[in-house]
């Protein structure tokens, strides 16, 4: 009787242990999944950039070519071309292309619609939002001939010179060919 009671107690302990292990495993699994999800869609931080800082960014000498895309969430062609740009970033970043985006949305959108859109596009390139009460000086410093129409894409060489520009929805094949002329190696496809 006493032996049977001891056996039952051991079985009960084993049962409790199994339940505990199952619970522990079920708690651990979502944690891993959450971590994986977080890696897949990193938190997007959009930095404000004023006209002077934009000038420095565009004109400084650098080690690699720079691609800059000016866009806004309210601009339909900007949204349409974004998946192509994300792919270009993915393909050419390993070949030393520096790619940044500059949003011309209102500064009040810097923590809401702008990062939300970039997150939905899985866009991991550095993202800025023009923080200027008057966008005209910034538009003029980029290119006096640019009227501010969006989207606008500019490719700079290592000396900070514009070597290619496109106003309106980008021609992906054309842009890729221009980037290819500047990057160091690889096919970028």
């Amino acid at each position: 009787m006493h032996y049977q009671t001891g056996l039952s107690m051991r079985r009960l302990q084993l049962f409790v242990l199994i339940i505990f292990c199952v619970l522990l495993a079920s708690l651990a699994a979502p944690a891993q999944k959450r971590k994986y999800s977080a890696e897949k869609t990193p938190k997007i931080v959009v930095e404000p950039i004023d006209t002077d800082a934009l000038k420095t960014l565009l004109t400084q000498q650098r080690q690699q070519p720079l691609l800059v895309n000016f866009w806004a969430t309210f601009c339909d062609p900007c949204r349409d071309e974004f998946p192509d740009l994300v792919k270009i970033d993915k393909d050419f970043r390993p070949q030393s292309l520096e790619f940044v985006t500059v949003s011309l949305d209102d500064v009040s959108d810097i923590k809401t619609s702008v990062p939300e859109f970039l997150g939905s596009m899985k866009a991991t390139m550095p993202a800025y939002l023009l923080d200027a009460s008057d966008p005209e000086p910034a538009i003029n410093l980029v290119d006096p001939k640019w009227r501010g129409d969006l989207p606008a894409t500019f490719l700079y060489n290592e000396k900070g010179e514009i070597v290619y520009k496109h106003i309106g929805r980008v021609d992906t094949a054309e842009l890729r060919a221009e980037i290819q002329k500047l990057v160091k190696k690889g096919d970028g496809q």
Binding site: F74, C75, P77, D106, V107, S133, D134, I139, D149, I167
Partner: protein, 195 residues
């Protein structure tokens, strides 16, 4: 077969040329005369520029229903229209967006209490003629339809950050008989959706 291929090639060239043209349509030079035109208003009644012109000039404002930048200016545009109507300058809105029909423009004007006349520009003929590319974008014409100012209303879509009221400055200069100092300022907003 050969003729068909040539036709396809020509059509392709035409489409490419149209797209390129649409993205960089030149605007008339400051001082040049804008041709008379007429467009239907939101009720479908044909209205000529001449019939809507103010005795001291006319402001043509390209506006939109869905553009957040244009919408950020609704109150300022209405205020401008009211204020300068009393001074003999008429404000006329023009909607050239292909996806925004007259009913939508009418409902939008009612919702935002826009009292100035708004014309619908089918086929964006007037937008093309003036080289308008975004909303909002302003053209100020004198009594002879000569272009005195072209560009933005002011420097910021955010009313709290306005520092330079370029359009108002142009209107005030013309009203006081002085030359407009800044005749052009880059308009910033949503691209006009052409048909």
């Amino acid at each position: 077969m050969k003729t068909r291929n040539v036709s396809i090639l020509l059509a392709l060239v035409f489409v490419i040329a149209s797209v390129a043209f649409a993205s960089e349509i030149p605007s008339p030079a400051i001082g040049s005369r804008i041709e008379e035109f007429s467009l239907p208003d939101v009720n479908g009644t044909e209205r000529s520029l001449k019939s809507l012109a103010g005795k001291n000039g006319t402001v043509l404002l390209f506006i939109a229903v869905q553009c957040p930048v244009s919408n950020a200016y609704n109150e300022r545009m209405e205020q401008l229209a009211q204020e300068y109507k009393a001074k003999g300058i008429a404000v006329v809105g023009i909607n050239s967006n292909v996806a925004e029909d007259a009913a939508a423009v009418k409902a939008h004007a009612a919702e935002h209490k826009l009292s100035f006349p708004i014309l619908k520009d089918p086929g964006n003929k007037v937008a093309d003629k003036l080289g308008a590319s975004v909303t909002p974008e302003a053209y100020f014409l004198d009594t002879n339809n000569r272009l005195l100012y072209h560009g933005r209303i002011d420097n910021s879509r955010n009313a709290a950050r306005v520092e330079t009221s370029d359009l108002r400055n142009a209107l005030d200069a013309a009203l006081s008989g002085k030359p407009v100092e800044k005749t052009e300022a880059k308009a910033f907003g949503c691209t006009i959706k052409r048909g």
